[in-house]
Structure formats: structure tokens, C-alpha cells
Amino acid sequence: MGMTLAEAIIARHAGRQVEAGEFVEVPVDFVLANDITAPLAIRTFRELGAERVFDPSRVALVPDHFTPNKDVRSAEQCRIVREFAREKETLYFEVGRGGIEHVLLPERGLVLPGEIVVGGDSHTCTYGALGAFATGMGSTDIGYAMATGSTWLRVPRTIRVELKGRLPRWAMGKDLILHLIGVLGTSGANWCAFEFGGAVGALPLDDRLTVANMAVEAGATAGLFPPDEVTLSYLSGRAVREFTPVYPDPDAHYAEAVEVDLGALRPMVARPHSPANVAPVDELEKISIDQVVIGSCTNGRWRDLLVAAEVLRGRTVHPEVRCIVIPGTQELFLRAVREGLAEVFLSAGAVLSTPTCGPCLGGHMGVLGAGERCISTTNRNFRGRMGHPESEVYLANPAVAAASAVLGRIGSPEELTGEEER
């Protein structure tokens, strides 16, 4: 019987045919961890009695969550990571030369089609956009993988998502994945992989990264896009290693199939306190906001910044709103400066921050107080995620977030032009 993309990648690593549901041990191609998960992974690594990481060029440690260090304790965690990275000569991306792990590693060509990537972060699934079987794990798994270059997996069942049509104006990858999470629920894809097919070519790579990023919000192990010309051209001149793309078999067996018409998608909003609590933005009542966050591993990439700037250009952030824009990496920040986006954001009255996860997990750079409401391009709106347990987070794409910043309430870019014409 044919194999799905997830099965095919795992099979190639296991050196034999595999089937959904079975447990296998596989070699991994790349391992990563951040300032929160690495300290524990390092502890595991030492407890295992390991001396060397399996391959220093395939282990990346990225301080991004509470960096630049937000307090003494987070500084101590980062110090553990930095010292380990130096000692074991792993890849390490210091503040000012790095960024948010899941924006950074694809940008640096470090995660590639056909590979198995494990990361001490649930959004490691982002790299599925490039056709890698990439999945988040806890620190013990990561310590073990750093030491041995291998891991255990339960081969996931695959949900095939057949796309058709093209995204309408102001709809983005974010809306596709919010729609799917809304349909399937936050555990609808638990222990499953998504495999996207059909009109994938119409989705820009940055949008695919957003979609794969949030696969875990439906519980999925991975969110996979078979590599195409878009993928290969993105990687040319970027990939740091040779790679062999892997594709699903035409007669693959899928546990479930879902069809999505991209053309029918409208910009969506996930209301508190679940990413599955979605509705089209134009069906929401008027909801005032205190803060807007544009950034994160979900929507902190170039296209996201471009779209936000397009909406904010020549406009100003509502007097009662704080708008925080965070490019995902140093390179993107620099490009935003060079290409005039920085000026658009700053003159609109937004804050432009150095790359960090910061507010996404209620760390710093925009933590919410009691009763405050934020619309954010991040991926989780669990209770208390961005600060006080009585604060609220709405999730949306960068166009909707930027438009809301101007409106002072949740709304779409279309409303903005409408209001100005009136």
C-alpha cells in the first residue's frame, strides 16, 4: 500500500516500510531548543552521560522567548544555554544575530525537505511547510536526540487537506488554518499529520509556514506540504545541506480527507480562549481593543510585515491602542528598515521591537493587565497566555490586526477604506 508524506519520510529514515500507529526509532536530521526548553534538555543530556552532541552542525540553540533577557532568572537560563552551546560547539544564535526560532531556521536554510526535525518547542511543526517531518517534543526527548541523533515516533495517521481556488484579498494562510482548527477543534488532529495538496501552488511560502505552524493548535503532530517549485526556489542559495525531497504515493491511505476552497475563505478571528473559537471578522460585533501584536513564529515574516505596512501606511494607530510590531528575525528587521517599513510602523505610532517571542507567551514587551483585550497575529489565545488571567486575546492575520489597530476595535482592512471614504 502507498504511503502518505509523513509515512514516506519516516520510512526513509527507518529504512523500511512503516504504517500509521506503529512505534519506530529513527535518526533525526536536525534538533533545536530555545531558552526555555534547552536548560532542561541540557540536564537530560548530562544525565545520559553524553559528552558530545551527535553532530554540532545539526543542533541549534536559539534564545528567543525571554530575550533580550527580561530579568535575572531568565538571564541565568540563557547563560546555561550559551555556555552549553560554546562547550559543545552547536549552532547558536545570539541576540542581535538571530530571531524567533521558527522564523530563523527556515530563513537560514537549516531545515530541509525530506528531513526529520525535532524541536523542544511545540511549533517545530512549522518546517512542514518545507516538506520536512518536523515535530515538537519536550526537553527529555530533545536531550536524548541531541545526544544520540535519534528519537522514537508513533507514525501518525494522516488527514489530507485538499485545497482549491486562490485566497481572496486580505485573506492569508492564517485564515486557512484558523478555519481548519475551527472545523476540527483543538484536538481534532491529535496524533495525526496534516498533508496539504491540490492548489498548494497558489499559497506563498510565508503563508504555508503560518499554516504548518498552527497545525499543532488542532493537536497535529505535523503539518506537511509536499515540496514544489515555490519551496525549491525559496531554498536555492539558502539550503546548508544537500537534500532529497520526499513525496506521498498516489495510492497513499488517508485516515480522513477535508476539502477547503481558498476562494471562499474570509479573514477569520479566533475569540478567547481557544484557537478553535473562530468566526469571520465581518460577523463579529464591535469589540474594542487595548493592544495589537503583529509578529511571532506564526506571522512575523516578510509577507506579514508587508501586509501590515500596507494597511498602516499613511494611517495612525488609534489613540487608545498600543500597537507592537515584532519582525521575526534580525534580517527581517534590517530589511524592514531598508525598505521603509520601519518608518511606516513608527510614524503610524506603533512600537517596533527587536525579534523576540515576548508578548506571545506573556513574557515581556507587551504583557496584558486585568481586563485588557488584545488582537494578535500569534497562535494561542488560551486564558492568561499574554498576561493576566482576566485578559483576552483574539487571533487574526496581520491585515486584520493592523486594521484593528487603526480602528481601535476589531475590524477588517475593508472597513478601514470604507470609513475613510465616508
Binding site: T37, S74, T186, S187, G219, R380, R383, R385
Partner: protein, 170 residues
């Protein structure tokens, strides 16, 4: 392995931010994390936990981030085991890897807060001694049991190394 303890009941979709809010992730100390266990759900929750309690949850327990601190917090608070209708994948892995018993029971019916219950991990039976009800859980796959019995992934790996044998899957 049979565990007995007082039932502590929570609902569906208890995410990792509820189990241990991000502001406490500046430490990896289990006891300290335990003092804030489930604080994201209810600021007074840590006071409700007594060592040996069995946490009974609904669907999708542990969804969200990969933070192993969530398991450490439960362990640190003295929770003996978690029984849920379903677990999010990463949380389940983390629990197994840290040798923390978890049992998935899709058929799990109502369990009364404070009742004395027993959990038979090998047979997959959850029983409420106070009202005589019991529920049958999914038995853990042999591969998972092997790691749990070893006391977690680290011991499992060490033991395997001592045995000098490499095995392929399970």
C-alpha cells in the same frame, strides 16, 4: 502498578499555560514549579492539591506548548498520576519520558471530586471505591509501558546501553 488516591477533577482542554503559566518558566525546579501547579486555571488551585492526589481530566489534557515544566509542576505538587479522556500528544510523551503515569480513558464517566479512586495502569482500570463504579481505559502500548517501567526515557536509554542491544521499534 496500582495507584490509589483522592480524585481531583478538572475539565476539558486544560492547556499547558493553565498547568504552569509562562511567567514561572524561569526555573526548572520541580518543587518550585509545583507550588504554582494549575495556577493558570485557578490561582488557589495549588492549595487544593494534596500529595498523592489523582488528577481526573476531560478531553485534550495538556494541549499547547511543549514545556516539560507542566509535568514537573504536577510531579512537584505531588500529583500521583493523571487520568483523562484524552491527552495532547506532546504532554503524553513528556509524561512517559519522565516516568509520570498517565492513563487515557475515552469512556471515562463522572468521577466525584474528593472520592478515593484506584488506577490500575497495567490492566487499564479506573475504579471509584466509594460508589463502586469503574471504567476501562486504553491499555498502554508495550513500547510506552517499557519506558514507564524503566522510570522514564533516561533510565530506559541507560538500561538499554547496559544491555548492549539495539532494538528496532516495538
Amino acid at each position: 502498578m496500582i495507584l490509589e488516591g483522592r480524585a481531583l477533577v478538572v475539565g476539558d482542554d486544560i492547556d499547558t499555560d493553565a498547568i504552569i503559566p509562562a511567567r514561572y518558566l524561569v526555573t526548572t525546579d520541580s518543587a518550585e514549579l509545583g507550588r504554582h501547579c494549575l495556577e493558570g486555571l485557578d490561582p488557589r488551585f495549588p492549595e487544593r492539591i494534596r500529595p498523592g492526589d489523582i488528577l481526573v481530566a476531560g478531553e485534550n489534557f495538556g494541549c499547547g506548548s511543549s514545556r516539560e515544566h507542566a509535568v514537573l509542576a504536577l510531579k512537584g505538587a505531588g500529583v500521583a498520576c493523571v487520568v483523562a479522556k484524552s491527552f495532547a500528544r506532546i504532554f503524553f510523551r513528556n509524561a512517559v519520558n519522565l516516568g509520570f503515569p498517565v492513563l487515557e480513558c475515552p469512556e471515562l464517566g463522572e468521577i466525584t471530586e474528593g472520592h478515593w479512586i484506584s488506577v490500575d495502569l497495567g490492566k487499564g482500570i479506573i475504579a471509584d471505591a466509594e460508589n463502586g463504579t469503574s471504567f476501562k481505559a486504553n491499555p498502554l502500548p508495550p513500547f510506552i509501558l517499557e519506558i514507564l517501567h524503566a522510570g522514564g526515557l533516561i533510565n530506559w536509554a541507560r538500561r538499554r546501553e547496559d544491555g548492549g542491544q539495539k532494538r528496532d521499534g516495538a
